[in-house]
């Protein structure tokens, strides 16, 4: 029989566990070294129960949800609890182990109370480099997993005795920026240590049995919330489809297809009709697919649903082995994390547009619009700028889309021009809205942005990883599509060439990279608004 916990104690403990996860993120944000973590906040923190099921999350990044919900469970399949000890911190980044891509490295600390394993503290951080062929570890030419960088299976870098410098040395020898990476690792260890201490206080305050009962109740509650949300959707089968620009290796667009079947308070999401695995690094994992499902269900039907392992109980998420969403561990995946995850969300939104168009927005910048600039500064220090570019949000019923913004699975910020110019061999020539890029409609799609970077060193590596360059953000209910994403290289000699969506180039001093991010799709036919205007005028 399940032990019971009263509604008051449940909320008090939930508050304390959430605070614990939030505090972890504070520690990582303030002390980590990768610019991504410090400027852009590309990190997540979580507490799980002893089985590895998510209990609380601090500083959400929606695409990390899947990771946080599956990482420890998959980890425990490789490292049984008997091998864990108090003071351990294990690092792992294998995509096939409840993961997403190599740069997102997870630190996992088992938390014991009175000798019993009660849960895990998990700190996920996007390292600015994880090795591989190019700085920043976005290897667009990768055709297998090993080309993408250092693969870290569960590795105990820290124990009660302290850091294992030998293992740490192996990791640091295989990534660029050893000092920075060491700082990231120490920050992640410090964060999980803070969480352990907080957990000890919570257990001391409420007693172990009550805390464990509260964890179980948190899952049950999230499950009940999700079931209530699903129950509100009409039963039926809904199909949605959207396309990746290419297979990241010069091929034609790839389809992501979903059939959503709602039956009572349960839902099945069948992605098996999606295309086969891509040759290039645009594949993703079933865990990311599940994260996108969770995000779409929450944003459309239950924004208040607490992130927890219990959320997933009413779902059945099906992917096909060999497909772009379940490619097998040997396939490259680095871009799929933030590109394909967004396309999964798009396919789901388009499925739900059939049954509830009033809840869904038109297509937006469902791409990170990522460019990585790697070069040596005038003081000889190597620096890598990882920069995402938001675009025009899709319009929806009742309002236009916002300009220059990130949507759905990510919310990573930009780097200010004044920081870029101080820390990287780049000059920002301009940053403005890309006027006219939003799709027309009764409500207009948001505008993309236009930013230009000039190279100030002799050899700069530039890597692109973006989508919506071939397949435009869709309009909805008769609205027009938004403008395509476009990156142009303007040589020091004035010649312009278009950059592909997944490409690595070397640029020289004086070259300019012009980024024009996509506009948002419109909502409702253009004429409808004019008619309304005319009617208003007549009356």
């Amino acid at each position: 029989m399940k032990p019971k916990v009263d509604p008051v104690t449940l909320e008090v403990i939930r508050n304390a566990l959430t605070a614990t996860a939030e505090e972890m993120s504070l520690v990582v944000m303030r002390s980590a070294r990768s610019p991504l973590l410090r400027e852009a906040g590309d990190l997540s923190s979580a507490m799980t129960d002893a089985g590895g099921f998510l209990i609380a999350q601090g500083r959400d990044v929606p695409m990390h949800m899947g990771v946080m919900s599956f990482t420890v469970r998959e980890f425990l399949k490789r490292v049984p609890p008997g091998r864990l000890a108090a003071g351990d911190v294990w690092f792992v980044n294998l995509p096939e182990l409840g993961g997403n891509h190599l740069p997102d490295v997870k630190a996992i600390r088992p938390v014991f109370a009175g000798g019993t394993l009660v849960g895990f503290a998990v700190s996920l951080a996007h390292w600015a480099d994880i090795g591989g062929a190019v700085p920043g570890s976005y290897v667009t030419q990768a055709r297998d997993a090993w080309a993408e960088g250092l693969r870290i299976p569960p590795l105990r870098l820290c124990s009660a005795a302290g850091l294992d410098e030998e293992k740490l040395g192996l990791v640091l020898a295989n990534v660029r920026g050893a000092d920075e990476r060491r700082g990231d690792i120490l920050a992640q260890i410090a964060a999980t240590r803070a969480a352990d201490e907080r957990m000890q206080q919570i257990v001391a305050r409420h007693g172990r049995a009550v805390v464990l009962a509260a964890m179980a109740a948190i899952h049950d509650r999230a499950e009940a919330q999700m079931r209530a949300a699903i129950g509100a959707i009409p039963d039926g089968s809904y199909q949605g489809e959207d396309w990746l620009d290419d297979d990241a290796a010069g091929g034609p667009p790839l389809a992501i297809r979903v059939t959503v079947t709602i039956h009572g308070d349960g839902a099945r999401f069948d992605f098996c009709e999606s295309d086969d695995a891509a040759r290039g690094p645009i594949n993703t994992t079933p865990f990311i697919t599940a994260a996108s499902v969770y995000y779409v269900m929450k944003v459309l039907f239950g924004p208040e649903i607490q992130p927890s392992g219990g959320c997933y109980r009413p779902f059945e998420v099906l992917t096909r082995p060999g497909s772009v969403l379940q490619p097998g561990f040997e396939r490259p995946v680095v871009g799929g994390n933030h590109e394909t995850s967004q396309r999964v969300a798009d396919a789901l939104f388009r499925a739900f547009a059939e049954v509830c168009p009033e809840l869904v927005s038109a297509g937006g910048p469902t791409t990170s619009g990522l460019l990585l600039f790697g070069g040596r500064r005038s003081d000889g220090v190597w620096s890598t700028l990882y920069e995402t570019h938001g675009g025009g949000e899709g319009a929806r019923i009742g309002r236009d889309g916002a300009d220059a913004v990130r949507v759905h699975m990510s919310n990573v910020m930009n780097t200010p021009a004044e920081v870029i110019e101080a820390e990287y061999p780049l000059r920002v020539i301009c940053q403005r809205l890309r006027r006219g890029s939003g799709g027309g409609g009764a409500h207009k799609g948001g505008e993309g942005q236009h930013r230009e970077y000039q190279v100030l060193c002799d050899d700069m590596s530039v890597t692109s990883m973006f989508e919506r360059r071939v397949v435009a953000p869709y309009g909805l209910c008769g609205g027009e599509a938004g403008a395509l994403f476009r990156v142009t290289i303007i040589g020091a000699d004035g010649r312009e060439t278009e950059m592909a969506g997944k490409e690595n180039l070397h640029l020289g001093r004086g070259d300019v990279v012009r980024v024009q991010s996509c506009g948002g799709g419109g909502y409702g036919p253009v004429a409808a608004k004019q008619d309304q205007g005319r009617q208003k005028h007549e009356t």
Partner: protein
Amino acid sequence: MAANWQVGIDIGGTFTDVIARPLAGDKARSAKVATRPDDRVKGLLAALRAVSLEWADVADLVLGTTMITNAIVEAELAPVALISTLGFGDTLAIGRQNRAHLYRLDPPAKMPAQVPPGLRFEVAERLDHEGRVLQALDEASVEDVLARIRAANVQAVAVSLLHSYANPAHELALAERLRPIVAHVALSHQVNPEAREYERAATTVLSASLMPLAATQIDRMQAVRPAGARLHLFHSAGGMAAPSLLRELPLGLAMSGPAAGVAAAGHIARTLGIAQALSFDMGGTTTDVCLIAGGRAQVGNDRMLGGRPIRQPMVAVHSIGAGGGSVARLDHGALLVGPQSAGADPGPACYGRGGTRPTVSDANLVLGYLDASRVLGDGLKLDAGAARTAIKPLAAQMQVSIEDAALGIIRVANSAMVRALGRITVEQGIDGRGCVLLAFGGAGPMHAVDVAREFGISRVIVPDNSSIFSALGCVSADMSYTRQQTLRMASAAWDAARLERLRDELRASLVGRLQAPAEIAEVALIRYRGQSYAIEVPEPDFSDPGALGRAFQVLHNKLYGFATDEPWELQALRMTATVPRATEGAGGGEGAAGGGEGAPAPSGPTSETPHKTTLCSFAGGAIKTPRFDRAILPVGKAMPGPLVVEDAFSTVIVPPGATLTQDDGGNLVISCGVAP
């Protein structure tokens, strides 16, 4: 009558609090009156009359005001034109490209830029990050922009050029051309001399848009002010400043009210020798907490207000949306309190103004903590029946008694406050359990002991004048100015001469505004190369960079549990110039009690006999609980809980297991003990 009073007035959203201290002889006076949002000058005069004074009686008046805060929150902002560097006119619209709501599609993803496209202008010019001129200010483009600004017919213009924090020349040149044609000009290097163009531009625009309001209001006050009476305003960083300065930099008033409260908390901490304290101010809709280390409120530099970023030195008050009006509900097996609030209208069910949903205040009334028979400050009589009726359905759902449901509401509300206390202490690497909880405001002292126990704090202090604490902060304020400037000096490229020059300039800019010898305090903001957030190193020794680096490492290790020998960078310098408040006259805080005008000092007659005994419910059940009048509470006597101490505006709950002692400064010191 000679002008021989020092007066602090805090004009809040609902109430205006006033404390008057005599320079000689007389007893201190205090009062709380309803705020008059329609006419601030009349409200100020009414507050003075409430303590039987005219402005002519006042030598020194310090005013805390929510005027600017409210204008920001309610978006009552004057139209502003913005001048940017060519190519950067849309920086405000792009922002940091993040959206406001992670899991909501219906509300707007971003606030629209405060300046519409038609009022965003660009001039051709360019600096680099070290302030070197890459392109001189182009005269033709300046002429063009000036013409368009004349045509736009705006009162205020903000100028925010790229890298102006490193070289203000172009902004200053533009200002010279703008001043003849517009009433108000705000320059970004003066409002906020720090890197990151979006935040600096947004802060400058916001400040510019408040200049017309600040000018009108401050000029009206100055016009009414008798000659010779000094007037100062309480600014966000926790000190007072000349009205003329805040007229130019109205954003300095954005956190005026909360800053005055925590400044008073800092004052108490210094007086009582408390090394680390947490201020705890709970009101109707929000609860504010702030870390006070070494007798000084923590100062931060970034916050959002009304959805807009503000980058200014401000007391680091952390606000959460939980207060007396927070509504409780059962949701899928968990008791949730807030974020919905009954607000001031209709307010909690017990206000009898039509509210029907159960709130934290209703729980406090049902538990017997609030006394239903008393009339509150603004003539409000509480309705215990309505409170019970509101909680009853919730209790039925939870299958517990109404009292147990009410206890549950309080526990959950308190757990949100504990989470806030955890956050502000973890951020500073401090073990919060060693802090003293300083509780004030209307509801803070009612919840303080339970919150302290839940967090692991052993001592709570409810200071003298706790219900009009911001006014106390005003009357005991020092004159101070604070500025933070981006420096970016690498340890490996230490330039002592440049640093000296920058410090001299900063010092001169601060001291120039004061008319008396000032104490200078510096905080160095240092980080490892590559980090984003800098650590505050107090009292930096700039003469010895090696020692400075070691001090940084020690603090880094304390905050994050590690430190390395890598190169570091002096990212910014924060400097505060303070002129201590003249302590002429007897006054002090001692005479003023929270009970309103003419309340006796603790040295007057006291009574150990409660004025009544009522039934209060605690975790262990309902107990007959004595209630004492704060004004006549004995000094130095340890009084075991349960007991209640009341004045006209606030209620202090001392639950079973805790012990209260009033010290000779009128502060209520509570040892939390443990619940029996």
